[in-house]
Amino acid sequence: MSVSLRSMRKDQRGVVVSVNVRGELGRRIRDMGLIPGTEFRIVGRAPLKDPVALRMKGFTLTLRNNEADFITVEIEE
């Protein structure tokens, strides 16, 4: 089942299904390698629960919840 990246909990793993945003944000997300098919794991959230940190492709990426909204993922249990 595909859900938004925002709804994922810490330590959950997932695979990116699609990135539905154009413009600068879309470009930055792709430049970082967060493209469909990318596996990742949620490693943490900032003290106010936003932004969120992911572990992927050998490094840690952060993004805000309202940016995570554009990314649909498949959760791997």
């Binding site: 997300i29 792709r30 970082m32 003290p47 932004p51 940190a53 840690t60 952060t62 993004l63 805000r64």
Partner: protein
């Protein structure tokens, strides 16, 4: 240029690019700015084994699109300065993403040498990378490096030489297949571009076609200026775009990225990398579990900041004292050598005191920058931004804005000068300027002295809580003005927070030293020259015109008279001498006060009085505010001169406080009007000089007049409402 090689060093942020650049160039590295923008341009020379090369360090970028200044700069250097070879450093622990930039350099066509950095970490993790195979599949030399230890530096330059010999300056763009939807369009556009030689003097036709599909703003803008073909190309892009949108629910730019990553993966999957380690929890993640913990994280962050503060102002005080003593010695030596007169007064009061006050900050800036560069290179600053981003975003700022705020005096005692300089870490111009303009509202060390003097005069019972209250007000004002600016003059989307949290890595001493020194030197050089000019100006304003000769003569006559009278006073000789000294002092103070009121600064104060009366400033505060523009420290010394106490030592202002407290002009409404005005009215001249340097004259003037207008409005409001309510 001679037959010397011209080499650009590039790489993604945190890949160790600058470390390798320093290893290659040693002490020859020099920092400047790219013309018109504040992105650093570091250049240096490699000269070993009879092989010379001129190196330029490109700003770290993840790709070569045209969104950020860094990306545009990196691309323009490649296209306009045509380096012989680009050394592309890669973080081998994150190879897939690192190669994304390399592929884009290869698409432009510039000859590339890849430096696989962090090979020690890769080996430690038990991963094997077959660099020979990677080199064969990519068609470019690949050198294994450990930049921190300088491993691979000479090999990289050997590879550069070899590539230069082979290519002989010829560029061969690599064309990746972008699939059956885009390739035909690219081919068609390439043919059209080649045929009409459309911008081909600068760019490769195929690359141009790809950039049109990526809807690259700069290329399309230049294209429109260059001719009619642009419209046709844009039409083709529109067609393809509609098609893929309908059939695949995507757009060309996303497809291009997918294919680039696909190309990289097809290479990595051919046995280049032994085992993928993408999601492994490593040491940095364990550290983050503590340092960004929901409760512990913010506490540790505050502790770190407090420690930075403490170190800067405790240990910085010694060298600051030495510098000040040095200038003090210079000043007293010159005073005793030179004959009395205007020249001496200008040299001592204008030049040495003015420049000395500024240079006194240098050790503080050096220490604060060294720690900041250290934390930044360590990877901690990215975590701080991550933790506070949510709060700062509410005010239209970015998580990275917190550091300038803290440095400027978010904990009282900072300095806006280094703070404005740290704003460079902010990527978006709008958020950066909003931060630059609001950080000077914080209570810097100089304002703190003034507040301590005023607060102890008016609220001796609750001085500490008043100071704390003022700090809170400064934060609230800065954040609210930031919000206001981002709704008006600096309107725009917030920058995405799509950032890398780099792994914690201990910085090299050499790297920290180079970065720190560069910034401090720029401060000394640039701020120093502007300050010299303004110091002389301020001195002149407070000195000219001098008292008319008959007034001077009249004070002289008073002195003679008092001295003569003193002979007939009662009491012992000592008592008479003491009494005489006191009387003479009073005459000198009166002369000083009249001199100050006669000077241009005094007249300006008088001239603006009708305006400042609405805000209820006493006339002494008026002059002090004018002086305070030079440096806020001047506020206290000018106040003490204006109150004719002769006690110009701001450290020992108690008697001044008493005198001020006794002055009935200071009603609560006037006090708070002055307090708030002091907080925002203008940044000091050093800060303005740095703001101009970091942005442009327009923002410098905006900062001066905008703050002035804002501060004045607030003060008038406070004074009028306060007076109306009977305070």
């Amino acid at each position: 240029m001679s037959d010397k090689f011209f080499v650009a060093v590039s790489g993604q942020p945190n890949c160790g690019k600058s470390t390798m650049f320093n290893a290659l160039t040693g002490s020859t590295a020099r920092v400047g700015n790219y013309p018109g923008i504040t992105v650093d341009r570091t250049e240096g020379y490699y000269d070993k084994k009879g092989f010379e090369a001129h190196l330029v360090d490109l700003p770290g970028t993840y790709s070569l699109t045209s969104y950020s200044m860094e990306e545009v700069v990196a691309r323009d250097v490649i296209v306009d300065e045509k380096p012989d070879v680009v050394i592309n450093m890669l973080d081998a622990t994150s190879l897939e993403r690192s190669l994304y930039l390399a592929v884009q350099f290869m698409e432009i066509g510039v000859p590339v040498v890849l430096g696989l950095n962090m090979m020690d970490e890769v080996k430690k993790k038990g991963i094997r990378i077959d660099s020979a195979k990677l080199s064969k599949l990519m068609g470019v030399p690949v050198i294994e490096c450990i930049a921190r230890r300088g491993v691979g530096a000479d090999e990289l330059m050997q590879a550069v030489k070899q590539v230069k010999d082979e290519t002989k300056g010829k560029w061969t763009p690599v064309n990746i297949s972008y699939g059956h939807d885009l390739d035909p369009a690219i081919d068609e556009m390439t043919a059209m571009i080649t045929e009409s030689e459309f911008m081909t003097d600068r760019y490769d036709p195929h690359w141009l076609a790809v950039k049109y599909l990526e809807e690259d703003e700069i290329v399309i803008k230049n294209g429109r200026l260059a001719g009619d073909l642009s419209a046709k190309l844009e039409a083709i892009v529109k067609n393809v775009s509609d098609h893929v949108n309908k059939t695949l629910n995507t757009y060309p730019e996303a497809i291009l990225a997918d294919y680039r990553y696909g190309f990289i993966n097809s290479i990595l999957k051919q046995g280049v990398i032994s085992r993928e380690d993408n999601l492994r929890f490593d040491v940095s993640d364990k550290i983050d579990n503590v340092l960004t913990h929901r409760f512990l994280g913010p506490i540790i962050m505050l502790a770190v900041m407090y420690a930075m503060f403490y170190v800067t102002f405790t240990f910085g005080a010694y060298p600051q004292g030495w510098v000040e003593d040095g200038f003090g010695w210079l000043s007293s030596t010159l005073s005793s050598i030179l004959p009395d007169g205007l020249f001496k007064s200008m040299l001592v009061s204008g030049v040495i005191d003015g420049v000395g006050a500024v240079m006194g900050f240098t050790p503080l800036i050096l220490i604060m920058f060294a720690m900041l560069v250290f934390l930044e290179d360590l990877g901690y600053m990215a975590r701080v931004a991550y933790m506070v981003d949510r709060v700062f975003r509410m005010f239209g700022l970015h998580g990275m804005s917190i550091m300038p705020f803290i440095m400027a005096g978010g904990l009282p005692g900072g300095c806006a000068v280094p703070a404005v300089m740290t704003c460079r870490t902010l990527r978006s111009p709008k958020e950066r300027i909003a931060t630059i303009l609001t950080a000077p509202f914080m209570i810097c060390g100089a304002k703190a002295t003034a507040y301590i003097m005023l607060v102890s005069a008016f609220y001796p019972e609750s001085a500490t809580s008043m100071m704390f209250f003022l700090v809170i007000i400064s934060w609230v004002l800065a954040l609210c003005v930031g919000r206001l600016l981002r709704w008006t003059a600096l309107r725009g989307e917030s920058t995405p927070f799509v950032m890398e949290l780099p792994p914690y890595r201990l910085p090299t001493l050499h790297g920290v030293a180079i970065h720190t020194w560069d910034r401090v030197w720029q401060y000394i050089k640039k701020a120093g020259t502007v300050i010299l000019a303004i110091s002389i100006l301020m001195w002149a304003l407070m000195t000219f015109p001098q008292l008319p000769a008959e007034r001077v003569a009249s004070y002289e006559a008073q002195r003679t008279q008092v001295t003569a009278e003193s002979k007939s006073w009662d009491g012992s000789d000592d008592l008479r001498q003491a009494e005489l000294g006191k009387k003479l002092n009073i005459i000198s103070y009166a002369e000083g006060e009249e001199g100050l009121k006669t000077s241009y600064a005094g007249r300006m104060s008088e001239a603006i009085a009708p305006v400042t009366d609405y805000a209820g400033f006493p006339w002494q505060a008026n002059i002090a505010f004018i002086g305070g523009f030079a440096a806020k420290e001047v506020f206290v010394s000018t106040m003490s001169t204006a109150y004719s106490l002769g006690d110009e030592d701001p450290e020992n202002a108690t008697s001044l406080s008493e005198k001020i407290a006794a002055d009935p002009e200071w009603t609560p409404a006037a006090i708070w009007s002055v307090f708030i005005f002091m907080l925002v009215y203008v940044p000091c001249m050093v800060t303005v000089a740095v703001i101009v340097r970091e942005t442009n004259w327009k923002w410098g003037l905006f900062s001066v007049f905008g703050s002035l207008g804002f501060g004045y409005s607030l003060s008038v409001l406070i004074y009028q409402v306060g007076t109306f309510l009977g305070y």
